[in-house]
Symmetry: C2
Subunit: 219 residues, 2 copies
């Protein structure tokens, strides 16, 4: 694993890249986002280079690792996701906080297949990524605990059920085109119905040990 290259840092006013190099870089990132959204993050690097109209060597010069390209391509959405979580953690209504994060993450998954792959899959050699994912997991666990303590979320809800629900949502998103968004909203509506405490709660089959990285490959 090479050291983090400097051109992998966020673009700022002091960015040393010349204008044409930056243009190349933006074109690659745009092509990567499009390809990931259509085909998931397993799309070959050569297909991204072709889509961007650059050579594979040029692409590798800008983004020496697959993970570096993925991280840069989704930096904006990653920030959006972190924002959703931060906002929910500030919300005084525990059910609204939990259900809003769940709803928005499912909507992001419906809008862009690649993003959920990229955000939730495990990239062990990308420390900044792992940090983001751990932070997301901790935030989610806190939202779940608060919603349960408030009596709004059923007591037998398990944090792993969030992954279960995202996998279910991925099945709907992958199977329904072009109405992935509407189908996903319907599913999310049903799932929130079943998560919320309402009258007598019938026992569910036991939770399954699920890790976020199991979403990798599920679309």
């Amino acid at each position: 694993m090479p050291a983090q290259p400097s051109h992998n840092a966020p673009v700022s006013g002091s960015d040393p890249l010349r204008a044409d190099a930056r243009e190349n870089r933006d074109r690659i990132l745009r092509a990567a986002r499009e390809a990931y959204a259509l085909h998931g993050i397993d799309v070959p690097i050569s297909a991204i280079a072709r889509r961007a109209g650059v050579g594979v060597a040029t692409l590798y010069r800008r983004f020496p690792t697959r993970a570096a390209l993925i991280e840069e391509a989704f930096a904006e959405q990653l920030a959006e996701c972190a924002g959703v979580l931060d906002e929910a953690l500030e919300d005084p209504d525990p059910w609204r906080a939990f259900s809003s994060v769940f709803t928005q993450v499912c909507a992001m998954q419906a809008a862009d297949r690649g993003f959920t792959h990229a955000f939730l899959a495990r990239f062990p050699d990308e420390p900044s990524y792992v940090g983001e994912r751990d932070r997301a997991e901790e935030g989610l666990a806190l939202l779940v605990r608060r919603a349960k303590e408030a009596g709004a979320l059923r007591p037998d809800f398990d944090v792993s059920d969030v992954v279960l629900a995202l996998l279910a949502n991925s099945g709907v998103v992958n199977g329904v085109q072009p109405e992935a968004g509407a189908a996903s909203r319907r599913l999310v509506g049903y799932l929130l119905e079943s998560f919320r405490t309402e009258g007598a709660v019938r026992p569910l089959p036991p939770p399954v040990r699920l890790e976020l990285e199991q979403l990798y490959g599920a679309g």
Copy 2:
């Protein structure tokens, strides 16, 4: 589309195939079922022939069309599925009837990826198959109507929600190995919770127009 070949009929005591030919046939069907279960029904014919240890020409001699092979490979499970539906249509308890079919079909989907593909995908050139699928759709619609009339199923439930749920289940089944069965049971438990009428029903996002053949390719 060639006429239905006679060797495509169920094997019986009067089957004209010689013993070794029948052995070949059984080996091909076993290999097909294994390959479909592992990889879905899009697995190449050549891979099935290789798994069966026969040449592609031999396979085509026994099963001249892809659809004929699929139909024969799943004949037993198709009969099981029809049995589940028939039994439910006889059940005097409308909720038990509906939820039992839903539960069992999801369990079959979890146990064998290929089967749901094969049963639910559209094979327009296989009339017997289309007949089975139409019968399943009508049976399901009847179960849904009865469960609603009994006040057990929420009034805004749409028949297309069965497909939505099967797509969701496919996402879980494909994403969770080897615990697909347990994860699927958990999801089914949640979904049945949300389908059942219980106290006040909050409005859901509107249903999406979904056809069974959209399950094709979703795993």
